[in-house]
C-alpha cells in the first residue's frame, strides 16, 4: 500500500474543501481532523483498486455533517470567544456555500461532492449509493435552486 502521507498529500485539499462546504469554515477543522483520523484507522484494510478519493470524501461528508449538526444542537460555549482566535481569511464565496448548506440534503450532498470534492458524477453516484441519473438530477435541481436564491428575479 502506498504510504498514508502520500494519500494525505494527494487528497488533503479536496477533503478540506468538502469540510468547509458542508460544515462551514469554523467547524471545518474538526471535520478535517476526524476525517483523516478515521481514514488512517481504516487504511490498512482498504482494498486494492479502491477509489481513494471517493472513499475519503464519503468519510469527510459524513463527519462534516455530524460536526455541523452537533454544533447546531449544542449551546454556544462561553469559553470559545471569537475574539481570542485569529480572524479567518475573508472568503469570497461564503454566501454561495451558505446557500448550498440550506439545500435539501440530497442536492446539497451531490453539489458539494461534485464541486467542492471535485468528483466526477459517476464517483458522486458511488459515494451516495445512487444512480448516475439521480446524481445529475440532484445537481441540476440544486443549481436551479441556488440561482433562485443567489440571483433573485
Amino acid at each position: 500500500m502506498i504510504p498514508f502521507q502520500q494519500v494525505l498529500d494527494a487528497h488533503r485539499d479536496a477533503v478540506w474543501r468538502v469540510c468547509v462546504a458542508v460544515a462551514g469554515r469554523d467547524e471545518a477543522e474538526d471535520a478535517f481532523q476526524e476525517t483523516w483520523l478515521s481514514a488512517l484507522r481504516a487504511y490498512p484494510r482498504l482494498g486494492e483498486g479502491a477509489n481513494v478519493r471517493a472513499w475519503l470524501l464519503t468519510i469527510a461528508h459524513r463527519k462534516a455533517i455530524d460536526v455541523h449538526r452537533g454544533r447546531a444542537r449544542r449551546p454556544i460555549v462561553t469559553d470559545r470567544l471569537p475574539e481570542a482566535a485569529a480572524p479567518p481569511e475573508p472568503e469570497r464565496d461564503d454566501g454561495l456555500w451558505d446557500a448550498v448548506r440550506e439545500l435539501p440534503p440530497g442536492q446539497r450532498a451531490a453539489i458539494t461532492l461534485r464541486y467542492a470534492g471535485d468528483l466526477r458524477p459517476v464517483e458522486v453516484a458511488e459515494v451516495l449509493g445512487i444512480s448516475d441519473d439521480a446524481v445529475r438530477r440532484r445537481i441540476a435541481d440544486g443549481l436551479k435552486n441556488l440561482r433562485l436564491e443567489v440571483q433573485p428575479a
Binding site: M1, I2, P3, F4, Q5, Q6, L8, R12, D13, W16, R17, V20, A21, R25, A28, E29, F32, Q33, W36, L37, L40, R41, Y43, P44, P88, E89, E91, R92, D93, L96, W97, V100, I111, Y115, A116, D118, I139, A140, L143, L146
Partner: protein, 197 residues
C-alpha cells in the same frame, strides 16, 4: 451546466502538524518520519512507538519518497511526516556532529533486522564511541565467529547507521572496510570520534 467555484479558504498552516499529534495520541501513527540535515547530507529519520527504526542517507537511497515507501512496505502503511516527533533525535545528532555528545540516548527499534543480522547490530550497538572492532569480533559477539561475510552483509544493511555505529567495524587487517552510503562517510564519522586523524 454551470459550475460552482469550490470554497477557496486554505487549511490553516499548523493543521497537519496537529493531525500528526492527534494520530500519535490515538495510537494510529505507526511510523513518523522527517528529513534531518547533517554534515553527511540529508537524512531521513523514522520512529515507531518503540523507537528509532530508520536513519537513511536520503541521496544514497533514491530520495525521500523511496525511503518512505520502503517503510510503508516493511513496517506499516500508516506513515506520516511528523517533524515534531523527530526533534529529540535531530537534536542529539546535531550534538554528536558538533562533538558534544558521545552516546545516543534514544530507544532503538531493530524490527527491520532479524535473527543473526539483528544480533550483529546489537553487538555493534555495544561498541563504545571512539573504539573499533573487527568484523570477526562482531561476528563472535553475535554467536558465530566464522560468519564474517554474513556480518559484513548485516552491517551493510544496517537500517540505522550512525546511531547503530557500523562505522566502528573495520577489517581485521586494519583496512577500513566498506560503508553503505560511501566510505567517505565512514571516514568522516571515524574522524569525528578521533579514531582517524
Amino acid at each position: 451546466m454551470s459550475r460552482l467555484a469550490a470554497p477557496t479558504t486554505p487549511p490553516p498552516a499548523d493543521l497537519l502538524a496537529r493531525l500528526a499529534a492527534r494520530a500519535a495520541e490515538e495510537g494510529l501513527l505507526d511510523v513518523a518520519y522527517a528529513r534531518v540535515d547533517s554534515p553527511l547530507g540529508p537524512l531521513v529519520a523514522a520512529v515507531t512507538p518503540a523507537g528509532l527504526v530508520r536513519l537513511a542517507y536520503e541521496d544514497f537511497n533514491g530520495g525521500l519518497d523511496v525511503v518512505v515507501e520502503d517503510l510503508a512496505a516493511r513496517i506499516s502503511p500508516r506513515v506520516l511526516e511528523a517533524p515534531a516527533r523527530l526533534d529529540d533525535i535531530r537534536r542529539q545528532l546535531d550534538e554528536y556532529f558538533e562533538r558534544r555528545r558521545d552516546r545516543f540516548d534514544v530507544p532503538v527499534d531493530l524490527t527491520l533486522a532479524r535473527g543473526f543480522g539483528r544480533r550483529i547490530l546489537e553487538a555493534t550497538a555495544a561498541i563504545p564511541f571512539g573504539e573499533t572492532r573487527s568484523y570477526r569480533e562482531v561476528a563472535e559477539a553475535a554467536g558465530n565467529g566464522k560468519a564474517t561475510r554474513a556480518a559484513g552483509n548485516a552491517l551493510g544493511a544496517n537500517p540505522i547507521p550512525i546511531v547503530v555505529p557500523c562505522h566502528r567495524v573495520l577489517r581485521t587487517g586494519g583496512g577500513l572496510g566498506g560503508y553503505t552510503g560511501g566510505v567517505e562517510k565512514k571516514e568522516t564519522l571515524l574522524r569525528i570520534e578521533g579514531v582517524l586523524l
